[in-house]
Symmetry: C2
Subunit: 259 residues, 2 copies
Amino acid sequence: MADEMTKGEAPQPGVVTAALLVIGDEILSGRTKDRNIGYIADYLTAIGIDLAEVRIVPDIEAEIVGAVNALRARYTYVFTTGGIGPTHDDITADSIAKAFGVGIDVNPQARAMLLERIPEADLNEARLRMARIPDGATLVVNKVSKAPGFRIGNVIVMAGVPTIMQAMLDEVAPQLATGARMLSETVPANAKEGDIGGPLAAIAAAFPDVSIGSYPFIADDGRPNANLVVRARDPERLAAATAAVRAMVAEEARRQGRS
Amino acid sequence: MADEMTKGEAPQPGVVTAALLVIGDEILSGRTKDRNIGYIADYLTAIGIDLAEVRIVPDIEAEIVGAVNALRARYTYVFTTGGIGPTHDDITADSIAKAFGVGIDVNPQARAMLLERIPEADLNEARLRMARIPDGATLVVNKVSKAPGFRIGNVIVMAGVPTIMQAMLDEVAPQLATGARMLSETVPANAKEGDIGGPLAAIAAAFPDVSIGSYPFIADDGRPNANLVVRARDPERLAAATAAVRAMVAEEARRQGRS
């Protein structure tokens, strides 16, 4: 199954995987609603990187270190959002340094970048926190904020503010390895999942190299419906499986006397 | 720090923790935007359960089993959303049974519930999947759908469709242990984080038993601002720390000649 390709074990040839680590108590408390996960999922899918896992952890060093080390060992890339600002609760950079077992200090290049926007008199200890970069990391500049993200090994550390995160992602994306894009087609079931579950399973069994998912929703008229999503990297296999799904949906509509 | 209380290790007295496991390729591909994480975070916080970690994993049994076993060992409760429908890609129930090392079969009570809404003639193999419940689990009924969720050990398995998940959460919540609520106050900084980072850190150091977070945002007028969020379970400590933060913000405003 195409799903196997996102299993997140040692990356397979032609498949590039990623995990996203969202760092912040405010997301877990519900105070702030995450606006980055869906954006990053769309973005990575579009450039041929499979987002294989997401974790949200609190602002606790041990939690960040544990998650980063677990994820960077499993996936091609790990993206993090949040915790790189100037306040005491911004502990991402120090936690990443600890995860990699490297030192961390004010990075002269990052400090110079801050000075492009901040008068030296205002570059206090708090703001200098934003220039603390783990040893061996490269900076991820962005056009919205002068405070850089950074990349160390396969881990890319970004801001939590969506506009800044998005600018950092645009900056780093061209440097990333990408694989064959996962292509997808969506076919509305116009039926209850339970009515098409059997034939859909038969099609899934007939196309073991294609991922077929059924995503139920309640239509505006209150009736249960579902989107049948066919996913594959090979356009011909995608087309063949999608045709089979469309034919099955048409047959079900006929059976129910709706055509 | 209050953060320590959400560390997700062996639950501490008076503290009830939870993890949320979101199951579904569609969230990771970006096709579907999650609408459950923020709702569940708000809900659990309000009833005195600390959401300590969230994971999103694909529809792959090994991934679900691994995540469930990692999370149920660390937190008081684990909630899952998604993958309990009638189609072939709904593998949550079987994966949970595997995680607990128990059998799974059509549960007579669950089957009877389905028959309250579904004519026996329509209760096909696909729909019967929704009655497959791991041995030893108790059903989580809900008023929106006749297909039940279930609870086994400290794991609560819910639907992915928000309206159904919410009904299941309402059903199971009264049965859950809850701890002292984490209370919070929000103080607008009306300043750049970098200007108040120093004094805010001093206040955080003076109130080690209170969690103080700074959440930056870009105001409608394009100016950087931040919400300072003070969190504690003890109302008096919350009030004392919040007063200190308000005084600091007022002093900063005065310093900048804005009052």
